[in-house]
């Protein structure tokens, strides 16, 4: 499963659990408009770490916090590729 589809799956699952309406996940979508709150993001990141095996926010270099869904996916794809 690609990194992107893993991420999409987690967003959808957490949104469902947290009973939040998820906006359509396009690359331009501002994360703050996604429908998820900080707690939901925290859970997504934690579960992605379990399934993908890494947390890109924990990587050595300073990370620019992703603003859009596209940024988020790219962050994970980049970190995954450089591991």
């Amino acid at each position: 499963m690609s990194v992107r589809s893993t991420i999409v799956e987690q967003f959808e699952e957490v949104a469902k659990e947290q009973k939040r309406k998820l906006a359509p996940l396009t690359d331009n979508l501002q994360l703050l408009d996604s429908g998820l709150d900080s707690l939901s993001f925290a859970i997504v990141v934690a579960r992605l770490e379990e399934s993908l095996g890494f947390d890109p926010f924990n990587a050595a270099e300073v990370v620019d916090f992703p603003l859009t869904f596209g940024d988020f996916v790219r962050l994970y794809e980049t970190t995954s590729a450089t591991r």
Binding site: E17, Q18, S38, L39, F41, A42, I43, V45, A46, R47, E50, D55, F57, N58
Partner: protein, 455 residues
């Protein structure tokens, strides 16, 4: 304290040997060296619990101070204990050829195989009883008590034809010592546990002897329930202390020991025993603050329970020791409580709070909810670092039943979802575990409590 052996046949039943208390009137575990210890500060560091049980009777009233060391105290801590207690003598049961890394302290050996003594023992002074409790840095703190503060108000003599006490705890720890004192002062027998004995064997042995009253931590009791052999004992009285007793556990014990009184007690090494609760519910009724047990006052301050009274320890030993009690004499137990519908519930240790995006979570409170799921035997909730909220809540879960592992992947998935849903119904979102991991067992400390990270 005298070993009266008021009732013929009261004994200490160890895993490997039994000693009748009446024998202590004419025999000793110290091989004739008791007088050397008169007025001395003595560290009791035997490995064998039965030997320790005998030494406490022999040395009370003889030694100036006795320090009760639990077994497997690391060597460097033992040296520190000897130093802080200014001990002139250390009593061990292994004649250690490598002997004395304790400077000028005399080392003598004791054994549960008693040898006869010529003159009866006499008591010449009040002995200070010193227990160890873990400090935050790992080195133990020495907590000084007297027999009076440990034993509390004298109970009515037990009309105790058949009372036999037992405890999962080592008697050198506060919880176990309470049971030891109940047995000895009540003149009845005590079945001692053993670190080398499997839980199932201990239960079988205790059951065969006919134990009627038995005490342990909630973690000890959960392991009994998991052992499959809980029915090897038929107690009249089941006691829990040392950790929060949640409703799920109280209910499970009631179901298994339907004829027993189920009692949970709140106590700490420093504060002593505060109260016993026997109404079958977790927590304690708010009225208890107004009408506590005699000699004990309770109050809640800054969210934690504070205790003042005759059961408090007197002080910590050591030059750098902090004050044991506040200026008003109350001892802060460090246990946080919350009032809900007229009842106080223990929600966790003050230092154990998990901070999720600024919102506080007590691990024990989440564990209590997870433990209500019928397939869960016990759980441990932890903090996991998170780049978004600082930390999130995660849980490790031990399932009950014959299969301690989830049978397959789909079962794990389904169970995870059920547990999270259970939490979601009972707790606000930030307290619900983000992830569940199933484990075959959880680490338990030597004192019978769940080991918590950073604790």
């Amino acid at each position: 304290m005298t070993a009266t052996g008021k009732l013929p046949g009261s004994s200490f039943y160890g895993a490997e040997a039994t000693v009748a208390l009446a024998d202590l009137a004419q025999a000793s575990s110290l091989g004739g060296r008791l007088e050397q210890l008169r007025g001395a500060s003595v560290v009791l560091a035997t490995e064998d619990q039965l030997t320790a049980a005998l030494l406490l009777i022999e040395l009370d009233g003889v030694a100036r101070r006795m320090v009760l060391c639990p077994p497997d105290l690391p060597q460097q801590h033992l040296s520190e204990v000897v130093r802080v207690a200014e001990a002139g003598v250390i009593v061990r049961d292994i004649a250690d050829a490598q002997a004395m890394p304790f400077g000028t302290t005399t080392q003598i050996t004791a054994t549960a195989s008693l040898t006869p003594i010529q003159t009866p023992r006499r008591q010449s002074q009040q002995t200070e009883w010193v227990l160890l409790t873990s400090g935050t840095t790992g080195a133990p703190k020495l907590v000084a008590h007297t027999l009076a503060s440990l034993a509390g108000p004298s109970r009515a003599p037990m009309r105790a034809d058949k009372t036999i006490w037992s405890t999962f705890y080592d008697i050198r720890r506060y919880g176990g010592l309470q049971i030891y004192l109940r047995a000895v002062l009540g003149g009845v027998s005590l079945v001692l546990s053993s670190a080398k004995e499997a839980a199932a064997d201990f239960l079988a042995r205790a059951g065969a002897i006919g134990v009627t009253h038995i005490s342990g931590t909630p973690t000890h009791w959960r392991r009994v329930l998991m052992s499959g052999v809980a029915q090897r004992i038929s107690p009249q009285y089941v006691r829990l202390s040392g950790e929060i007793a949640d409703q799920a556990l109280l209910d499970s014990l009631r179901a298994v020991y339907s004829k027993a009184r189920i009692v949970h007690a709140f106590a700490s090494t420093e504060a002593g025993v505060a109260f016993d609760i026997e109404d079958g519910k977790a927590g304690f009724a708010a009225e208890l603050l107004e009408r506590p047990a005699s000699g004990v006052e309770l109050k809640i301050q800054d969210g934690t329970l504070r205790i003042r009274g005759v059961r408090n320890a007197s002080r910590y030993l050591g030059d750098a020791a902090s004050a044991l009690a506040q200026s008003d004499g109350f001892v802060d137990t460090g246990d946080m409580v919350e009032l809900r519908s007229g009842r106080y519930y223990f929600v966790g240790r003050k230092g154990g709070v998990i901070n999720v995006g600024g919102l506080k979570v007590h691990p024990e409170e989440v564990e209590a909810v997870i433990n209500t799921h019928p397939r869960v035997r016990m759980s441990l909730v932890k903090s996991r670092k998170n780049p978004i909220t600082g930390a999130i809540v995660v849980a490790e879960v031990v399932m009950n039943g014959d299969k301690s592992q989830a049978s397959d992947f789909l079962d794990t998935q389904a169970l995870t979802k059920e547990i999270i849903d259970t939490c979601r119904r009972a707790l606000p979102a930030h307290k619900v575990p983000a992830m569940i991991r199933f484990v075959p067992a959880l680490e338990v400390s030597a004192s019978g409590k769940l080991v918590r990270p950073g604790a």
